[in-house]
Amino acid sequence: MVALSYSFVRYRINDEVVLRPCLKCTLGYGSKSFETYLLVDSGADCSMLRREEAIDGLGIDVTKLRSIGQTGGIGGSTKVAIVEVDLRFGQRQHMFEMKIPMQVSLEEGKDPSLSLLGRNPFFYKFRVDFRMGYTDDPTLGKFILYPEDNPRNAAKFKKPPAYG
């Protein structure tokens, strides 16, 4: 099994270096694609694509998307639609490709500051190891993606009671 290691992207904020786990990837939709970053966000339930990237990067007409409901975050809530985006990342012979449903805000000015890869479905496919302290220099750090290519037999595990 091959795991993929990435250096964190460093942002200088208020004289402090903030490390963010940003996955270098190619996003595609139909015939359009571009190479960019998605924040790997274990705190987000699902993935979200900023409107600008949907419109200018992937040529999606967001006015034609149908609302599936509201999504909330620290900045408030917004009406969202879902688009299925082609996600491609990796290195040379170790490339991974998958379709990822991503939410897009249907309201202007309600985007997250970065497009993000939330838990569903990405974390079902990859185990993510955030290593911010692997050296004694706090401005260095890396995160590693391990493919979940050998899931255990669920019958051997106790399932929590279902929610109503």
């Binding site: 091959v2 993929l4 250096s7 942002y11 904020i13 200018d56 620290i74 990796g90 290195q91 170790h94």
Partner: protein
């Protein structure tokens, strides 16, 4: 039987490794387009930097440098 050792590869590539070593402060609030370890375009919109880079025959790596505040 022992589990097979995992091979970990550095997957970011040259442009990513170059980018993470740069000071992005001058580009806060902007998009930057990177190719061959240099910034080939920057501007306020993704459309602008993609158009400029592609006009030069480059398919760049694009990054938005968000406004300078920490997020939760």
């Amino acid at each position: 039987m022992k589990a097979k050792a995992e091979e970990v590869i550095e997957a970011g590539g040259a442009d990513h490794e170059w980018l993470v070593s740069q000071n992005l402060a001058p580009y806060v609030g902007k998009w930057i387009a990177v190719s061959d370890r240099r910034i080939v375009a920057f501007g306020p919109t993704l459309r602008e930097v993609l158009t400029r880079a592609r006009a030069d025959g480059v398919e760049p790596l694009c990054l938005r440098v968000p406004e300078g505040y920490v997020t939760v």
